[in-house]
């Protein structure tokens, strides 16, 4: 195994995210980084997973000579290799609402200590500093997938104590909150940033523990302090914060091959 010596932290975020995919089961990929990360995972680490999108692709199988990862989830290249292609009610409805998703992958503008996401607005919803595009299917996936991974650049403006608007519930405001709201208990499980990988302090899917985000590992040559410096609250650290393996040459070269037009990982974008 040869490690890459030339990579960005945004690339490492995708690589680390891809490594966190489960080895099997049904994965629903949200807009943006989840798509390329999911294709990377499927091709390198988790060939058995069934990749699905909310627009209607089911069990997407990237072919070996794939010219690109799909740009967004509406890219027609997703018809090439999928076992089934239908529509949003099948995908967000029968698939997700029906309980057939094992793992959801999201990105957002903000995440908070309880893993709640915000895709809608910065500032007060009634008088926003900045309006965003909107949640798409992010809300559904956060509400209904039993496990969720979120990919998000580590920036203080993104890692906030409380999201300005909770579009996509993690553990909401602590243990038991999801069940009180009428959701299943699990919520957000993993956050991968440009610094490291986070879990959540709950042993039983949101029933007990603080349900707060916990830094579990950092990228090579980075320290927990970097994460803390770009985080808006006092970050919990795992008893031992591991250091992740650097990306391999294979990981980085495939990632770049999947992103020939630099839609996903461009300098300055993340």
């Amino acid at each position: 195994m040869q490690y890459s010596e030339d990579y960005t932290l945004a690339e490492m975020m995708c690589v680390a995210g891809a490594r966190e995919f489960p080895k099997s089961g049904v994965v629903l990929l949200g807009m943006g980084l989840p798509v390329i990360t999911g294709v990377l995972a499927k091709m390198l680490h988790a060939p058995e997973i069934a990749i699905c999108t909310e627009v209607g692709a089911f069990d997407y199988l990237p072919r070996a000579d794939i010219p690109r990862a799909s740009i967004g989830i509406h890219d027609i290249i997703l018809n090439d290799g999928s076992a089934m292609v239908s529509d949003m009610v099948d995908a967000l409805g029968s698939l997700l609402m029906g309980g057939n998703v094992d793992f959801g992958v999201l990105s957002a503008a903000q995440v908070d200590r309880f893993g709640n996401l915000n895709t809608l607005v910065i500032g007060d919803y009634r008088d926003p500093e900045r309006r965003l595009g909107g949640t798409g299917g992010n809300t559904e996936i956060a509400c209904l997938a039993p496990r969720v991974m979120t990919l998000m650049p580590q920036e203080r403006r993104r890692f906030v104590p409380r999201v300005d608007f909770n579009t996509s519930p993690g553990y909401i405001d602590g243990p038991g909150a999801r069940k009180r709201a009428g959701l299943e208990g699990q919520g957000a499980n993993i956050v991968v940033s440009t610094v490291g990988v986070f879990g959540f302090d709950t042993a039983d899917g949101g029933e007990t523990g603080s349900c707060e985000m916990v830094l579990e590992a950092v990228f090579a040559n980075l320290s927990p302090e970097v994460a803390q410096s770009e985080c808006g609250w006092d970050l919990r650290l795992a008893p031992t914060v591991a250091e992740l393996e650097p990306p391999t040459v294979e990981e980085i070269s495939l990632l770049r091959r999947l992103d020939p037009y630099q839609f996903y990982v461009t300098p300055g974008r993340y």
Binding site: A57, D59, N79, A83, M84, V85, M97, G99, N100
Partner: protein, 316 residues
Amino acid sequence: MTARDAIARFVDDGDTIYAGYTCIAFGLCYEIIRQRKKRLEVVGGSVGQQATLMILGGCVDRVRSGYLGGALRPGVITEMMSDGRLRYEDYSNQGIALMLMAGALGIPFIPTRSFLGTDYLRPEFAEHPGAYLGDQKWAEMESPFDGQKVVLLPALRPDVAVLHAQRADEEGNVHAWGHQGDSKWAYWAAKKVIVSAEEIVPSSAIRSDPSRTIVPGFRVSAVVHMPWGGHPTSITGYYDYDYGFHARAMRAVTRSVEAYEAFAAEWIHGVEDHAAYMAHYREVFGQEAIDRLVATDGPEPELPVRYTHAPTLGLG
């Protein structure tokens, strides 16, 4: 997987089984009878002759449907309904279809405007002798948005759906075409799906026309290669309903226990699997009877489709 293995492994006594009026997995239902499963509940908008046989075979003690063909005329089935051996909850085709849809969508209920003004909703009929759902059958409310009266139908999630389709791959990805009845929502609502298919094809063939796929393989617990698996019912593009067989061998089954037993001894328990059943059919009625069923008439698609994309997005 063989039908024997699939039914043995995935159908448990007491299960709720979806078995509909189109895409009928007749061969799988024969196998359920062959294995003498017990206390099943059969559900489906309309349920056809395969349900009748499962009831007569002693496999079923509850039916939730809009139409039970076996009860159309007086006989063993109607006797079972009146003496309590077969309990039943009457809905309608669309009632069940919507309940399966709600089950598929993971929502606890779905409203409809059907049933309003009917006697189904009269409270004095809620306690009929066949009843087993009680207050879980339906509810009435007014829409908070416009005051419209609606009937709320509870979600229906069968334990198993058995379906027959034209072709599938080894992973269970299924291509089907022709009218589908309520089968699509059953594929998603059921906890386990068992598919029999006329043909098993390479996965690449399924994936080359993914809009033809009606259920992805990860939803399918078992796929069984079973030519003529819908017989004596029809499957678009392969063979037609065998009314001749119905008239010659099957018609009497509801009239008496003995008539059913005679049919079952010859056509279900007397053959080891569906291939043997079809071989017996050939012996009894001749190859020409089979040939007459083969679907030779009607259209083939005139235009191809393409799933192509540009390699470069116009940026290359």
